[in-house]
Amino acid sequence: MTGIVGIVIVSHSADVASGTADMVRQMVGDEVPLGHCGGDPDGGLGTSVERIMAAIDAAWSDAGVAVLVDLGGAETNSEMAIEMLPDEQRSKVVICNAPIVEGAVMAATEASGGSSLEEVRRTAEEYSPA
């Protein structure tokens, strides 16, 4: 396992996805591989398996990729995108059960220190903004 875990942000909204990516870049930095996608191909709200796969590709790291999603379809489409990855990649991608914005910042901060994919996922899921 080498390198820094990548982070993928999957929202129904392109604006939410790119805004969340901005927060990660500005708060955590550029060292974390980052991919994001949101919206359907017609410019409306939604998620697409194809775009999620492209975002995973963009954030790819041999250390793995942690995916942050918002509601319903973002999760099921992310699961589908992971299913469609080549065997050697599939086992290195996890979806975090965490709020998309907070989870992305937490996961990226953990990843920036060189933590494992499992540690990154745990950190994203540990934070509760209560």
């Binding site: 708060m27 955590v28 930095g29 910042v105 937490m106 901060t109 953990e110 920036s112 220190g113 060189g114 950190t123 540990e126 934070y127 509760s128």
Partner: protein, 93 residues
């Protein structure tokens, strides 16, 4: 050679240890091999300064005294670096 170091510093940063300062503090703590803990009272409770979830979750308010404790070969450097970060109001260049 394991060493142990402690230092405290007044947190003057406006609105306390919120998102960006928490990220900076955690990232800095992670650069050291020593275990680094943080508390807002000398008697604790101590939290892992390398854990962003715990540091941000602690919601440390402005004008708190931050106590750092580190244990490990670079404990002194770790504690000095963290105190400096807080003293410089989290400005990093």
């Amino acid at each position: 050679m394991a060493e142990r170091a402690t230092r405290s510093v007044l947190l003057t940063h406006e609105i306390g240890l919120h998102a960006r300062p928490s990220v900076k503090l955690t990232k800095l703590a992670k650069r050291f091999r020593a275990d680094v803990s943080l508390a807002i009272a000398e008697e604790g409770p101590w939290i892992d300064a390398k854990s962003i979830a715990k540091v941000m979750g602690a919601k440390v308010p402005e004008n708190s005294i931050l106590y750092f404790e580190a244990e490990g070969e670079d404990a002194g450097d770790a504690v000095d670096a963290l105190v400096t970060l807080v003293e410089r109001d989290f400005e990093t260049t």
